[in-house]
């Protein structure tokens, strides 16, 4: 019997009700994002799938968005948390524009802001379940960085999230070089996305490639990669197998 129950406001994070408010696991997720710096700016690729566990539930999810004039954000992980992040950034850019002076937030500033947000949420045990890729160019300076759901952040010439780190980064380490042309950059990204398509079970064959340059951001129409399944190893795959593989 609780005669002197202490009153807490409805939205408090203390007490038994609080656990249902925190993110414990993701529900609708996006898979890898891959990005690289090229001659004129940044190129980023992501497929349009939103998985619900092992079901490929949504096939028209745009996982890359422009932020302000100078930045491009790609996300993998929980789609609803990505949408929440877009709301935070929308407000940030709005206030930045409202100053109406000659200054604007560039990709470095947005990346660091996101790092603070992600890390602070992680400290409260209520993370935004995303791995983010932030790229952009301002005053000729190219910038490409990533932040994870626990707040780990760094910059590099090419970055990827999730499976992209294991399958795409090795390709990029071999083949990326300074001042790639647009065509070479796209070809390189497509090579990475094709490997991911073959090997990542949450990948779908419908992707977009986004580019951000000093002029602005453009995003391609969704398209598919050509795949080849006639490898002789795929015919009668169990022939030489020992065990259940």
């Amino acid at each position: 019997m609780n005669f002197m129950a202490s009153k807490q406001p409805e939205n408090s994070l203390l007490g038994p009700e609080s656990d249902s408010q925190r993110t414990l696991y993701p529900y609708v997720t996006g898979t890898s994002v891959v990005a690289l710096k090229y001659k004129d700016g940044i190129l980023m690729a992501a497929d349009m799938g939103g998985s619900y566990g092992s079901t490929l539930r949504y096939k028209n999810v745009e996982r890359m968005k422009a932020i302000g004039k100078h930045s491009l954000l790609g996300a993998s992980g929980e789609i609803s948390d990505f949408q929440e992040i877009l709301r935070y950034l929308d407000e940030l850019i709005l206030y930045d524009n409202m100053w109406d002076d000659g200054n604007s937030l560039g990709p470095k500033e947005v990346h660091n802001y996101l790092t603070r947000v992600m890390y602070n949420r992680r400290n409260k045990f209520n993370p935004l379940w995303n791995s983010l890729v932030l790229g952009g160019i301002k005053n000729g300076q190219k910038y490409l960085g990533t932040v994870s759901m626990i707040g780990v952040n760094f910059e590099d010439n090419h970055v990827a999230t999730g499976f992209g780190n294991h399958l795409a980064r090795p390709i990029l380490r071999q083949e990326w070089h300074e001042n790639l042309s647009f065509e070479d950059g796209v070809r390189l990204l497509e090579k990475c996305m094709r490997v991911l398509l073959y090997r990542d079970r949450s990948a779908i064959n419908k992707l977009q490639i986004a580019k951000i340059t000093e002029e602005g951001m453009t995003i391609s129409q969704p398209y598919s990669l050509k795949t080849y399944w006639e490898f002789s190893a795929f015919e009668n795959p169990t022939q030489g197998a020992v065990g259940s593989w």
Binding site: W99, D101, G102, N103, G106, K108, E109, N112, N139
Partner: protein, 271 residues
């Protein structure tokens, strides 16, 4: 300004539409010792007159570094100035931490002005009694702003505040057109000459003034006394040379303009 029945509260308007408490706060700025600022496209120089109360005491600090790219010189109630400098430092460091980028001086100045405005509209507060010359760098280059107790702010090419600042302003008005493209050292020289104007005859030496510089590629720092004294000595020698030469020129060509020029070169050294 004379005392009247509308000047007790900052929240009382006069029938003429004036807030006397705010105007009195601006008077406090005029009573403080002089501070001047001037800028070129890439550098800003701040200077102030530092007179100690007595031979036994040290002088008050009137120039504060706010961040690597922003500094401020104050005139008026130095205690209020210190508090506002702490606010500015806080804002800069918080912005740097969140965005890893320096806070644009234009935004800091607006935040400062809005803070000052609050004190002009609360019955339990009083306006800050200090004027601030804020020097800082931005994406668009070098800027110099003046923030006053009323909550207004203005951008300047060059400005002077505090007691006997009119003399410095007159000097700056004559020279400001050259400032945009001036070199860093010429800018410091002009600052020292403007400070000299406010001293009204007293000798300019590095113990009575403080100079600080900020520019593209040069973080905000206060010049040390030795450097300042060297610069004073350098242009005072030039001033002496100009005097006798101009006088010789006057005898040779007997032109009244040159005579006036000789007078300008020689007179400050005479006193």
């Amino acid at each position: 300004m004379f005392r009247n029945q509308y000047d007790t509260d900052v929240t009382t308007w006069s029938p003429a539409g004036r807030l006397f408490q705010v105007e009195y706060a601006m008077e406090a700025v005029k009573q403080g010792s002089a501070a001047i600022g001037l800028r070129s496209k890439t550098h800003i120089v701040l200077g102030c007159v530092n007179k100690a109360n007595s031979e036994l005491s040290s002088h008050q600090k009137k120039i504060f570094k706010v961040d690597d790219h922003i500094g401020v010189a104050i005139a008026g109630l130095t205690a209020d100035g210190r508090v506002l400098s702490r606010y500015m430092r806080n804002e800069c460091i918080n912005y740097s931490f969140t965005y890893e980028s320096p806070l644009p001086v234009g935004r800091l100045v607006v935040q400062l002005a809005d803070k000052a405005q609050v004190c002009t509209q609360r019955s339990w507060k009083r306006p800050y009694g200090v004027g601030l010359l804020v020097a800082g760098l931005d994406e668009s280059g070098a800027h110099l702003y003046y923030n006053c107790p009323s909550g207004n702010y203005f951008e300047y090419q060059a400005f002077a505040i505090g007691s006997r600042s009119q003399a410095a302003k007159t000097y700056l008005e004559r020279k400001f057109e050259n400032f945009t493209d001036a070199s860093r050292d010429d800018l410091v020289k002009d600052a020292l000459m403007a400070i000299r104007e406010t001293l009204q005859g007293e000798t300019l030496k590095s113990s009575v003034c403080t100079i600080a510089v900020v520019g593209v590629g040069e973080p905000f720092h206060i010049l040390d006394q030795g450097t300042v004294q060297q610069m004073i000595d350098a242009f005072e020698i030039v001033g002496e040379q100009e005097g006798p030469d101009a006088a010789a020129g006057q005898e040779a060509s007997a032109e009244p303009e040159q005579g006036a020029g000789a007078g300008e070169g020689v007179a400050p050294m005479d006193i």
